[in-house]
Symmetry: C2
Subunit: 349 residues, 2 copies
Amino acid sequence: MNAVVKRFPLRLDTRGARIDMTHGSGGRAMAQLIEELFLKHFDNELLRQGNDQAAFDVSAGSMVMSVDGHVISPLFFPGGDIGSLAVHGTLNDVAMSGARPLYLSAGFILEEGFPLADLDRIVASMGSAAGEAGVPVVTGDTKVVEKGKGDGVFITTTGIGVVPEGINISGDRAQPGDKIIVSGSIGDHGVAIMSSRENLEFETTIESDSAALHGLVQKMVETVPDIHCLRDPTRGGLATTLNELAMQSAVGMHLVEAEIPMKAAVTSACELLGLDPLYVANEGKLICICSAEDADRLLPVMREDPLGRDSRIIGEVVEDEHHFVQMETMFGGNRVVDWLSGEQLPRIC
Amino acid sequence: MNAVVKRFPLRLDTRGARIDMTHGSGGRAMAQLIEELFLKHFDNELLRQGNDQAAFDVSAGSMVMSVDGHVISPLFFPGGDIGSLAVHGTLNDVAMSGARPLYLSAGFILEEGFPLADLDRIVASMGSAAGEAGVPVVTGDTKVVEKGKGDGVFITTTGIGVVPEGINISGDRAQPGDKIIVSGSIGDHGVAIMSSRENLEFETTIESDSAALHGLVQKMVETVPDIHCLRDPTRGGLATTLNELAMQSAVGMHLVEAEIPMKAAVTSACELLGLDPLYVANEGKLICICSAEDADRLLPVMREDPLGRDSRIIGEVVEDEHHFVQMETMFGGNRVVDWLSGEQLPRIC
C-alpha cells in the first residue's frame, strides 16, 4: 500500500451523478462532496482549516449579523441563480446597517436525486459572487433529505460585518421632513422570476437586479455618515419595506408615483401578470432615508456607482399618527399604499 | 379610527391554524408570525430592534463562526426536538474551538400546512435552550415552501463566539502520545431517534443526549489551555470524527473498546437495530485530545460537570502514515475502525 492513502479512489462525478442520502451521512461520501465540490468553489484559507468552525481576528467595535434563507424557484433565472442570490441577499442585509461585510456561513439542504452538475453550477456561482464581493464563505454545512421532502436545494446564509464608528442606521430613525431615495428601478427581480416561471417571452429579457450593494453603501456612508435608514426592498417590495419603516419610526410617508423609477418592460410585464410593481421583490436596490440636505449630497455620489445610476428621490417622510404610506398617483389622485396582505409571489427569494 | 392602529385585527391562532404561503410573503401575515410567535419565544433586545440585522459590540480578539442545518425526523423525540437541537448543535460547534458562544442566527424553512401549534412548541423549546445557554437568537428569517417541497420545518442556525486568548484548539494538533478522552456514553442520540422512528419500546426510554457543551468546555480550557483538539462526534459518530482528526493531524489512533462508555440499553438497541454504536450520532458529547499529563488534570474537572460525569480516556494517538484508527476489541483482537461509508442513519440531525 502506498504511504499516501487515497481517500477517494474515484473522483466525484459532477456530470452524471446525483445527490443520494450518503452525501448527508457525515461519512466518506460527504467528505468527498465537501472536498471536491464545495472547497473547489469556496477556496479560502479559513475553510481549508477543515474544522467545524472558522476562526478569525476581529477589531473592537460594532458588529452586525444577519441571516437569510433562500428557497427560490426556479433555481436558475435570468440575471442569477440561487447561489449568487444567497450571497447577495445576505450581504445586502448586513450592508443595510452601514456595515462592511466580513464573512459568510452557508447551510445547504439538498434533496436526494438532485443533479451534482446543477449543484456544481450553483456553488460555482456562489463562489464567484462571494469572490467578487470580497466576502468569503468561511464555514458550511450540508444536509440531505429524501426525494419529495425538499426541492432541489435550499441555501441559508448568515453574514457578519463591522459597522464603521459614528454610523447609526436603523429603521426607527426616519423623521418628518426626511427624503426617501430609491437606488434604481423597482420590480426587476420579481418580474424576472415570474416571467421565467411562466415561460413568458418579452421583446427584451427582463433580468433580476440581484447584486451586492455594500460597495455602494460604503460610498454613501462616507459621504453622509448620518443616514437615518437603509433597507433593501426584497420580499413584499417597496410598499412593504416603506410600511415597515413607517411603523418602526412611527411616521407616515408621502410618495410621488411619477418619481418611482421603473423599466418600461417591467411595467408592461406587471400589467400582463396582474402584479403591482410596488409589491414586487428587488434584490439589488436600496431605500435610503436621510435629511433633505443630505439627500442632495448623496444623490450625485449614488449616481456615480453603476448600482445607483438611476437613484431618485421618490417622496418624503411626514407626520402621521396612523403611520400610513400614501402615494400621489400619475393622475393626481391619492392612494394608500398598504402592507402586502396575502401572497403576491411565492418563493421569490 | 383610533390613534393607535391595530396592525393585526385577529390574534395569531397558534392552536388550530397552519402555515400557508402568506406566512413567507414578506407581508402582513409574516409580520404577525414573527411578532406573535418568534418574538414571543426569542424575546431579546437585539431582535426587538426590528431591523434586518442585529448590531452589537465586540472586543478585539479571535472570533469563530459555525453553521449547522437541522432536518431531523421526527421533529420531536425523547430528550429534545428540532428546536433545542438547532441551538445545541451550533453552540457545540462554536464551543469546540474553545470559544464562548455569543449569538445565534436562525433561518426557518417551513412547509405549507405545518401546524402552528407544532411550530410554537419548537420555537418555545428553541427559546428555552438559547435562554439556558445564555446565547440569544438575535436575528432570524422565515421562508415558506409549498406542501410536498419541504418536510414540516428545517432550521439552520449560525453561531459566533469569542476564543479566549492563548487557546489554539484545532483538528490538526493531535500528536503521537496524546490521550483521547470522550466525555460520556456514546450513541444515545442516534439510538433515541431510531427507536422513536421505528416505534421501538425498550424497558427504559433511551433519550437523546442533546445538550449545550460550552459550559463544560469553558471549565476544560481554564484548567488546560493547551487542549490540542476538541470535536463533537455528531453525524458519523465517534468513528468518523476520530478518522477526521487522524487525517487532519496526519496521525493514527489506537482505541480500547472496553474503555468506551456505552449504556447497556444503547448497546442492546444497537444490536436489535443492526447499528454499530461507533458510527451512531451524539449531540451532547465531545472528544478531547491532549497530552497524557493534561488528560490526568482534565478528567477530574470534566467529571465534576454533569455533562462530563462519565468522561473516560478511550485511547491514544500513535504514529501511522496511513492515518488509521484501530481498536483493541473486547476479545483482545484488533479492528480497523474505518470512515463511515454509505449511510447509517439518515436525517439524524
